[in-house]
Symmetry: C2
Subunit: 340 residues, 2 copies
């Protein structure tokens, strides 16, 4: 593979000049520029990224850490990130934390060792990392910018983009209450900030609508499909049986619906189901799943935007914090046919 030296030789100039035309920096006469350009074409020359990285200490790599690759939420979000970054020449390095705090630290270290230019960390709960700042600090110190999806206290000026989980859960719960349900089971996720927030919405909707809260209706899952299935099994045992279920995310809601199907319980007639995230599966499953719409793609884009603006120094002020709003997509899983 040809190097800058061969281009220089062929064009009869120095490597410095070739470098200038490649990077469109500094003065180069039109005539030499053409000569160099031609040599580049003939040799099919493309700069060696590794060599460039070494001198510029920029790799054009972005680390992206997500909790669960199998959850379509993160896929969608990644698309937003990737679409924004790829034209700018950045490439993504994917990693999965599996919601495990040790794994998270490992991956961040690995990003650092790969000398990523920046990283985007997504977590359902940053507080679990005890001292998140300790993880972030080495990155920031080495001029590796970090943006977070989710919330965490930090002494650093760090950008975050989040989603109004409280409001989202509120909307879903309120909707169920308005549909006449007064006993709404909750399939919760793992202990985490996100679960707390979604629980708060569930709780506040009850309070505002003067419906008493029953702790016995809360069943814990782990945000994955199977746990939704299991949780629903427990809910079916309850006496009296709830007439509605709100799951803290869609994949659990779908697991729950499968359990209902297996037990021949009709949705929404016997039990109404609502989820959270509005993943593509909501429209695939029958009945279609009512869900809180999270603008995943836009969140991804915003994360990328924040990061890029930090990396190219077009912004260097205090930590920004963007919260995307919620909306509920009402579908068949919560609306009885006679109510439609």
């Amino acid at each position: 593979m040809s190097s800058i030296y061969q281009v220089a030789e062929m064009a009869g100039v120095s490597v410095a000049t070739v470098s200038r035309v490649i990077n469109e920096r500094g003065y180069v006469s039109e005539k030499t520029r053409l000569k160099v350009q031609e040599a580049i074409n003939i040799l099919h020359y493309t700069p060696n990224q590794a060599a460039q990285s070494l001198t510029t200490s920029s790799t054009k790599l972005i680390g992206l850490l997500v909790p669960d690759i199998n959850n379509p939420v993160f896929l969608e979000q990644s698309k937003g990130i990737n679409d924004y970054l790829k034209d700018k020449g950045y490439i993504l390095m994917y990693a999965e934390s599996g919601e495990d705090d040790e794994e998270m630290s490992n991956m961040v270290r690995r990003f650092l060792s790969n000398r990523v230019d920046g990283m985007i960390l997504c977590s359902r709960d940053f507080t679990q990392f005890g001292d998140m700042d300790a993880i972030i600090e080495p990155a920031l110190k080495n001029n590796v910018h970090v943006v977070l999806n989710g919330y965490v206290d930090s002494k650093f000026e760090i950008d975050r983009v989040g989603f109004d989980n409280v409001r989202g859960a509120y909307l879903a719960t309120e909707h169920l209450l308005k549909m006449g349900h007064s006993s709404i089971a909750l399939i919760a996720g793992t202990d985490s900030t996100i679960s707390e927030e979604r629980y708060r919405g569930y709780r506040e909707a009850h309070i505002d609508n003067h419906v008493s809260l029953n702790p016995a209706l809360v069943v814990k899952g782990d945000f994955r499909q199977h746990s939704g299935y299991e949780a629903m099994l427990k809910i079916l045992q309850m006496n009296p049986r709830p007439t509605a279920v709100f799951a803290m995310n869609d994949v659990m809601a779908i697991g729950a619906m499968m359990a209902l199907e297996d037990h021949k319980v009709s949705v929404p007639d016997e039990i109404a189901v609502a989820g959270f995230d509005d993943i593509i599966w909501c429209s695939l499953i029958r009945p279609r799943l009512t869900s809180v719409v999270q603008p995943k793609y836009e969140i991804g884009k915003k994360l990328a935007e924040f990061l890029l603006s930090r990396m190219n120094d077009s912004y260097s002020g205090p930590g920004r914090h963007e919260i995307f709003g919620s909306r509920l997509a009402v579908r068949q899983s919560t609306v009885k046919s006679e109510q439609q």
Copy 2:
């Protein structure tokens, strides 16, 4: 970020020695090894990939090109690839060709400019690239190994892993014929090798079962969901109306099922539907979709395995060609309740 020099200095040895302990190559006394190791730990040192790449001319990057990121088939396949490669320190660079031949060439070039160590190219039809060898050659010449998912003639010794599309389509068609359908519409994909093969299976099943083939029953789609929807609309207009539909992939089959739902045509009672690929959506949708099972994850793994064995020279013989076999997953979309 600390460099090898700082480690060397701290440990009181030369950089060469540090390099030896990092790479576990050459002789190092246990005593010095320990000293160096300690310095590494204290400094949280990790080798700079870019610098390593520059000397070793290996980037630990693998280029992966897929036709359509939105199709779960490729997601699943990528997982197989990634799982196999990540422990070995390789990272994937994803690119999407959108089934566009120009884009494909671009991406391959970009891989080259990023000096990937190897690349995995997936396409539904390599023949469209006119001279595929012209694309592969620069890669191979620069010691960048290439493996293909799919078939193409090549003068190079190149590894490929494929799937028995003819057999798969045969199984699905045969199943529909056996279920008593004699008029089976076909939703085809874009003109491509894969479409041809799947058509051949459809055709052969008809011949072997002495059912005449009707070209009017073939409607062309583009492998994407919407085209399946549109195709089904056309099929519904046919007179007489077919009693079964075989779509060349699942996302089109699902699009077709949505059209049927919108027009209140019951599946499988009025029209039976079968797809191809066995993506996760098949079990989500109701009725569950009968589909040809393609071992996507295993195919991905095999691709990675082939590539790795070439890269580390553990294999350098003639081009290998592995074809995975088919099996049909029969589900509700093709079996009437009274037949179950």
